[in-house]
Symmetry: C2
Subunit: 549 residues, 2 copies
């Protein structure tokens, strides 16, 4: 029996496509544990991220705000001091809010210095970690190159591997993300042709099981204290490489055909054309690459599913399914060669749509268990969902939070019209495409606005793109210049314009506080436009009169 929500388990995968789960219809991949969660909760079929790239997407997940509102629009772009994050909302409600895994948060060191915030203080650490208490932060990209390391932080995971006997300065790479190559040489997972070789690490010491165990440790330690744990897996994000047996669990014959059309390469939109020219797109356009990489991508997902099976068993044994809201999501998808693209970044469904499953233990959510929800949902909806689940009032935070609680959908309450469109944004200022197109950093902005049928993409300085998801579900035909679609473009451009003019920075006063202030200044002596004393109630003058000597 369920007793309502006490804890929140917020599971995120990295770069997991919405359709690479058996419950979402993948023909070959079997994910029974994730499917079981969907069977106990709601699977959202139209869940979109606010930006199809890790850092920006996550900052929206954690702040509950659009990218244009929080400003951390790409990986490594610091989230400015002052933006509230999940922990700021949940801690006052009594939840220990902690992190195991990745956030891609870049702290605003300059802002902290300007405001005299010690980065080592509790406040400073939370400002630096998206509001989470870092139980085990690990962004999972411990890359080293000729100019040094990508992530200055050495993860606890490297120490763990060393302790377990995996040698070297960077066992993350040398054991967990590399295989044994020809001539007994190290075969790095960064070279995709090595993808199907088994990673050198033992399966139980690879990243996904390590993180899962860390989550269990956190839960054990938390004891009776209510918590929100963000278990944020690094996989199936590149480097695409998996330990045995997951490296070989799927083979090239189980790879789905690429969703792409020669039509797409004829006179494409300039921005799309440049993204097709990126190295990762050129690679994934080759079948050879897809046949090596995708089986391992599938294996990494299978490993996550197996680990979630262990975690769910662990939770079941502790009766945590009775009082824990569980969310399973991803920060964006992966093109995997669809649309002649690799990685993510643009707005086709494989990139911008995510898997989203919400299990709510409350009895009121029984009505929707095992159902699929077709409403337009955004990643910014999670913070209000969590606040509401933890007993807070998310609507009272609507001056900061731009999403809305999914609670009514989980309980099948009447919601009126849920949402007319979703927004996603992309800052391509660092990309090769921006360099090739000579677009200044401030103009390298893309905006997607989509309803259930149409997807419109505004590219600053270029013509728009438009897709009709009904007649062209594969998004092969860009109608951005089609005269027949002028009315749709106009309608969506106007909706985007209204969105752009929204009130997103009036974050220091709530709607209620503003309503409560109406008409109050006169009673504090501000008498604007009064002609004569007798024109307004006598008490207004109480502090303004007297007999003179």
């Amino acid at each position: 029996m369920t007793t309502g929500v006490k804890n929140i388990l917020f599971i995120m995968c990295d770069q997991l496509r919405w359709d690479y789960l058996s419950c979402a219809g993948h023909p070959k991949l079997s994910t029974p544990n994730i499917d079981a969660l969907a069977a106990r909760g709601v699977r959202f079929n139209r869940a979109y991220v606010q930006s199809p790239v890790c850092g920006a997407s996550r900052m929206s997940f954690y702040t509950g705000r659009y990218v244009q509102s929080h400003g951390a629009s790409w990986n490594g772009f610091p989230l400015k001091v002052g933006e509230l994050t999940l922990g700021d909302y949940l801690r006052p409600l009594g939840l220990k809010t902690a992190l195991v895994g990745k956030t891609h948060m870049e702290p605003d060191a300059e802002g902290m210095q300007r405001l005299g915030i010690d980065p080592q203080s509790i406040i400073g650490v939370r400002v630096s970690e998206c509001g989470f208490d870092p139980y085990d932060r690990d962004d999972g990209l411990h890359a080293f190159g000729p100019d040094g390391r990508y992530d200055p932080r050495t993860p606890r995971y490297n120490g763990y591997l060393n302790e377990k006997g995996y040698g070297g300065r960077n066992p993350w790479h040398d054991w967990a993300n590399a295989a044994q190559g020809e001539g007994n040489r190290l075969a790095s997972g960064w070279a995709m042709r090595n993808a199907r070789k088994p990673a050198r690490v033992r399966e139980e010491d690879s990243e996904t099981p390590y993180m899962t165990r860390r989550a269990m440790q956190f839960i054990e330690e938390a004891g009776a204290q209510p918590w929100c744990l963000h278990l944020s897996f690094i996989k199936p994000h590149w480097p695409y490489i998996a330990p045995a047996p997951y490296n070989a669990m799927y083979g090239p014959d189980e790879v789905s055909p690429a969703v792409r059309s020669e039509d797409e390469r004829r006179d494409p939109h300039p921005v799309y054309r440049e993204f097709m020219r990126h190295r990762v797109s050129q690679s994934f356009a080759r079948d050879e690459v897809r046949r090596e990489v995708i089986p391992v991508y599938m294996g990494l997902i299978k490993q996550i599913d197996d680990q979630l099976g262990l975690l769910f068993e662990f939770m079941q044994a502790r009766a945590l399914f009775d009082n824990t809201l569980i969310v399973f999501a991803s920060d964006h998808g992966d093109y995997l060669g669809d649309h002649w693209l690799g990685d993510k970044d643009l707005f086709h469904e494989p990139s911008v749509k995510i898997p989203l499953i919400v299990y709510d233990p409350s009895a009121k959510a029984d009505a929707t268990r095992g159902t699929v929800c077709d409403e337009l949902v955004e990643s910014i909806d999670l913070v209000p969902t969590f606040i509401e689940a933890a007993g807070g009032d998310a609507a009272a935070q609507s001056h900061r939070l731009e999403g809305r609680s999914l609670g009514p959908l989980l309980r099948r309450e009447k919601t009126g019209s849920w949402r007319d469109f979703v927004i996603s944004e992309y800052d391509y200022s660092l990309s090769g495409a921006a360099a090739a197109l000579k677009v200044a950093p401030r103009d390298a902005r893309l905006f997607m606005i989509a309803d259930k049928r149409w997807k419109y993409i505004h590219a600053v300085g270029f013509r728009p793109m438009l897709f009709d998801l009904q007649t062209d579900p594969d998004e092969f035909h860009d109608r951005g210049a089609d005269p027949d679609c002028a009315a749709e473009r106009e309608r969506l451009a106007q909706a985007l314009a209204e969105w752009g003019l929204r009130m997103s920075q009036r974050t220091t006063l709530s709607e209620q506080q503003i309503l409560a202030r109406r008409g109050k200044s006169q009673r504090r002596g501000i008498l604007i436009g009064v002609w004569a004393e007798e024109d307004i109630p006598d008490e207004m003058w109480s502090q303004y009169r007297g007999d003179l000597e």
Copy 2:
């Protein structure tokens, strides 16, 4: 002879209309000292504020950012912690940045508490005071009513008055803003019918001379240290009342006729109609009110001009005209009954346009002395102007600053096209109009976009307004629904939409920093989309290889 800019004197009046100066063509009012400044500098003929209300306008003046960007959209709406202000930009350039007078800043107490910033610390005080060191902060509205005081701070000015023998708990009201009425009773300046009575205070102890002397004291104390002083007068803002002789310097016969038309009251835009119904508008629609109030409004301006005469003499005697950039501005105008309105708040020229004079001591500015500049200028241009004058690089701050330095206009440099349009915004969530129209706080938003000919006003939830300043310079005819103007509305709506989608919150990285990052992650080991080791330079693998044992 001039030696370049060492100091900045930033003079602001409150609620001074752009056209109430003799140099701007006022037929009756004589302001020789302000005119003399204009004769030595440049007078901007099309200077607009970012919002026609004190608080929001000033936050834009001090942050260099649009209201939608900083979010402090009305009086008393706290400016969120983290927004950079003038002092943050000028202090690193060596300027002591201080305040005498009004800012209308409301600190973000909740944000400071969340971030552990002590409001009494130096950082806390600056965060609370728009980045200024408060030499003598005084917002000039020391109102008391049945529910208590409007401004919790007791001004130094009240202590000054008490010391000078003016008695009572609130001599600001009882002496500086009240007169002697019938039957020896106090006649409050809050009742406009008392406007032409002399305030009880001696002229030299009234607010404008007091503030001017405080400015001189600051300058004396600063000595050789470079400074930026914001001398921010409270007048000619209401309560409209002046000490002798300024109360009687102008009479009803010198009042200009109201700029209004019966056409305006026929089928007006709903928002405009409700503003016409506000008490202050109803009052100023009456000639009796205009004939009592406007002479005193003029007297208060005259007093400011006389005091600036003394200040300029003081500066001249210290050779400060050789090295001080001087700006004279206002935070917005005053309808004074024009368009059947009182106070400010909407976007007709008497409200949204301001006087702006810039005197630059540099020899390079000799080319423009005494000229009038016709370019579209915004209040957010001042912060970059000051940074540049102080030797800084304003362009390097373009990720935060949304205006541009007026320097090139002062030096008559080729600027290309200067600016295509100006933006102003108004948050009417607290107004009677919002209550009457049942507009929720989040939707109570107005946006003006104007070029040299057209002024377009977007009112969320209503039809737009449109004025043709060329054929209808008095703005009597709202073309917001005129089919003949559809193309102009479309053009301006599109420009406003593009503005709304601007990058305003990516404030933690500059354009230069972003450009410098392009292509750098690969050299730190992030090898996206690489198929085989030999596909990229060998050095990229330097940290990823080795022989296995």
